[in-house]
Structures are given as structure tokens and as C-alpha cells.
């Protein structure tokens, strides 16, 4: 039940994009059509779902004082986390290239750029600062990935429709995308007061 609560909280209430503005670069750059947005969102779910538990194991068994070396190595956290993420993205890239060449062509440069998607590293850093357990970190990873997918599909759908509307020239493209994201953020804020734990306890 705990895992489900964390999943819901990460996906809807603490949404990576709309509550923390993480992963904005690829969010704004790839959200022109729903199809590519979907592909990138799935890749992000996959990378988050894998790197989160791996980074949990690293910070628990290698970097902490009670870990393998018995020394406090937390200052190495950034370098190790980013190395894990970079190698996972490389793996995803090879898998996608093998099984779905058309998606690989559609995503192009943005697949390697998942490495520098702040949502991935941010997720790992949030996981450390919130002191999740192993199971919780898995569901937090999947939940935040799912929330990211939701947000990018929503903005891509709006931007597809936006092509037919008359936006002031100076606001076209980037400006209107920023304002739309702000409006979506406000809409998502209405979910903020919800406490999944209280709901499942029947209160």
C-alpha cells in the first residue's frame, strides 16, 4: 500500500515537471507532436525506473559509512549517480535502436539527452534526501516517470491544437509554451492537498 501511495504522490501531487520544473529542456523541445512525446516519455519512465533502485543500492552500500568501505564517501555521490545514469541511457539507446528503429529515428538527438534530463538526477537526489527504502525508491522512480509522461503528453496535445490559433507573434512558440505550462501547473496544484495515505486508511 505504501508503494502505491508513493507512486500516486510522485505522479500527481509532486509531479516532476509541474511542481518542481525538472526536465524542462526536453519537455519544451520535444513536445511538438504527441507521438514523439509518447516515445520520449516511455524512455524516461524506463530510465528512471532502473536508475533509481541502482542509485539507491550505490548510496546505501558503497557511499554510506555503514557500507562496503566503512568510510563516508557521500561527496562522490554526484559523479557516481551521473555515471550510472549515462550508462543506463546508453543501454536504452541500444535497446531502442535494436527493437524499434523508427522510434529511434524519431527521437534522434533527444535520446542521449535524457542523460542531462534533470528529472533523472533530480529523482535520485530527492530519493536520498527523503530517505526512501529500496521498495519505495522503485515506486518513486516509476511514479515520477509516469508523471513526466503525463505532463509531456498533455502539453504536446495542446501545442498540436495551438497551431490553428492566432497567437501574438512575439509569444509564438516558446513564450506561449511557458505560459501554458504555468497554467497546467496551477491546475495540478488542486491535487496538492490530497494525502493518499489518509485516503487508503479510509479517513
Amino acid at each position: 500500500m505504501d508503494a502505491l501511495n508513493i507512486f500516486i504522490k510522485a505522479a500527481f501531487i509532486d509531479n516532476m515537471v509541474l511542481a518542481y520544473f525538472l526536465g524542462m529542456c526536453s519537455y519544451l523541445a520535444v513536445s511538438k507532436t504527441v507521438k514523439t512525446a509518447m516515445g520520449l516519455g516511455l524512455a524516461v519512465i524506463f530510465v528512471l525506473g532502473i536508475t533509481m533502485p541502482v542509485n539507491w543500492l550505490i548510496s546505501e552500500y558503497l557511499l554510506s559509512e555503514t557500507g562496503l568501505f566503512g568510510v563516508d564517501l557521500t561527496f562522490l555521490r554526484f559523479i557516481l549517480f551521473i555515471a550510472v545514469i549515462a550508462s543506463m541511457v546508453q543501454l536504452v539507446e541500444m535497446v531502442v535502436e535494436k527493437f524499434s528503429p523508427e522510434l529511434y529515428a524519431a527521437l534522434g538527438i533527444f535520446l542521449p539527452l535524457i542523460t542531462v534530463n534533470c528529472a533523472i538526477l533530480g529523482g535520485s537526489l530527492f530519493m536520498v534526501s527523503r530517505e526512501y527504502t529500496f521498495g519505495q525508491s522503485v515506486s518513486f522512480g516509476l511514479g515520477s516517470g509516469f508523471g513526466w509522461l503525463l505532463a509531456i503528453i498533455a502539453i504536446a496535445a495542446i501545442r498540436e491544437k495551438l497551431r490553428y490559433s492566432n497567437v501574438p507573434p512575439a509569444l509564438r512558440g516558446l513564450g506561449i509554451a511557458f505560459i501554458l505550462t504555468g497554467l497546467m501547473g496551477i491546475a495540478f496544484m488542486s491535487l496538492m492537498g490530497i494525502d493518499p495515505a489518509a485516503l487508503t486508511a479510509g479517513k
Binding site: C25, I82, A170, L171, M189
Partner: protein, 233 residues
């Protein structure tokens, strides 16, 4: 003038701050701003802009990291194998960010706590990575260093404008000093002053969503004046 034009291809040494070098610093402030034009580094920028002081610290940290990451990668650029250049760049960036993090933790623990994970997220700040790929891998160390400073300044400029707007309208203060508002401890006590009596704090500006609106409006103003930036598509 003509003489220098003839000499130009031969002469290697030029003054440290020649006109060509100055452009590297001034261009990212407006025409090629990393946030509003190149769409880089929005990720870690917007969440820290509720108050001015953490934003200034963040801006300084990013200027430091972009400048030195550009310098070091530019020095190494001929010996980095292309296949693993991403990892090499990330290691350079991560090392610099660790230095910044530990320094900040030692100097001002309070600000360090306010910025929490966002200092770490400078690693994945697209400005750093983007400038390394686009500039430092192909240019000499000194020029890359200036480009790093310029882009860091351009980012910091937007960050501080957004933070100032949000703090003044959201909290009625600037960098911690109360300016407008309706409680007696404010600098201009609006209970007595008819000038600011109408104003009460706008809580919307404290919400994360307001940062998006402020950046959207900055882009709107900038592109109205600078029409060559308008998106034609």
C-alpha cells in the same frame, strides 16, 4: 585599419579583451540569451527563484561552473575520444559542482539548505552541457572561458529578474528588506501611506507556476523589441 585586416590571419596574439572577445560576453545577455533564446537551463532555474538571495548564489555558482567547465574541456578537447566525450564532460562538471556544493555548505549553510538538490542539479543544467558541446569542444581555452562567463551571466540575469519580480509582488520585499505591504514592520508602512495602501501580497507569485508566467512575459517583451528572434514556424 587596413593594415590589421591584412595581418589578421597571421597574427595569433590579440588583446585579452578585444572587441571580438567582448561579444562573447555581451551576446548571451540579450540576442543569444541561454534561457529565453536557446531554451537551456530552465530546469534548475525556476524552482529557486522565489527569493532574491538564493537566486544570486545560484547565479554565481552557475557562472563559476560554466566558466571553468568550458576552460577545462577546451584544454582537454584534443585528447578526448569522441565516443566517450559525454562521460568525460560529465565528470568535469560533476567535480566542479561538488566543489561548489562543499564550498557553499561551509560558507552559508542556510542558503545551502534553501537550494537543497538544486545545486546538485547544476550538473544536468543544459547550459553547461550545451555550451561545452557547442563552443568549448571547438574553441581555444580563453575564448571558451569568456563564453562560459557570458552564458552564466545571461542565465543569472534572467534568474535575478524573475526572482526580483516574484519576491517584490509575492512577499513585498527585496533581498529580505520589506518594501511594500500592509504590516507595521514594513519599510513603507502602508497602513499610514495612501500610496501603497491598495497593495496586499499576491500569493500566486510565490507558487512555482508564477515563474513560468514571468519567464513567458520576459520572452514576450524581449521579442517585441527584438523582432529578429520571433518564431516564424
Amino acid at each position: 585599419m587596413a593594415e590589421t585586416a591584412v595581418k589578421a590571419p597571421v597574427v595569433e596574439k590579440e588583446p585579452l579583451f578585444s572587441k571580438k572577445q567582448k561579444v562573447l560576453i555581451t551576446d548571451p545577455l540579450n540576442d543569444n540569451n541561454p534561457v529565453t533564446v536557446q531554451v537551456l537551463g530552465i530546469c534548475s532555474a525556476l524552482a529557486v527563484t522565489t527569493l532574491v538571495v538564493p537566486s544570486v548564489v545560484m547565479a554565481i555558482a552557475v557562472i563559476f561552473v560554466t566558466a571553468f567547465a568550458n576552460l577545462f574541456v577546451s584544454l582537454l578537447r584534443n585528447s578526448i575520444p569522441t565516443q566517450i566525450r559525454m562521460i568525460v564532460q560529465l565528470v568535469v562538471i560533476a567535480t566542479l559542482v561538488t566543489v561548489v556544493e562543499l564550498t557553499l555548505k561551509a560558507l552559508s549553510f542556510e542558503v545551502y539548505q534553501q537550494l537543497s538538490v538544486f545545486i546538485g542539479l547544476i550538473i544536468t543544467n543544459c547550459i553547461v552541457m550545451g555550451r561545452l558541446e557547442a563552443f568549448a569542444m571547438a574553441n581555444k581555452p580563453w575564448r571558451s572561458f569568456l563564453d562560459g562567463i557570458g552564458n552564466g551571466l545571461g542565465y543569472g540575469l534572467i534568474l535575478i529578474i524573475v526572482a526580483a519580480a516574484r519576491e517584490i509582488f509575492g512577499k513585498g520585499s527585496f533581498a529580505g528588506f520589506q518594501i511594500i505591504g500592509n504590516t507595521p514592520d514594513y519599510f513603507i508602512n502602508t497602513l499610514d501611506s495612501a500610496w501603497f495602501g491598495w497593495y496586499s501580497n499576491n500569493n500566486l507569485m510565490v507558487l512555482p507556476a508564477a515563474a513560468m508566467f514571468v519567464v513567458g512575459i520576459i520572452i514576450w517583451i524581449q521579442r517585441s523589441y527584438n523582432t529578429k528572434l520571433v518564431d516564424i514556424s
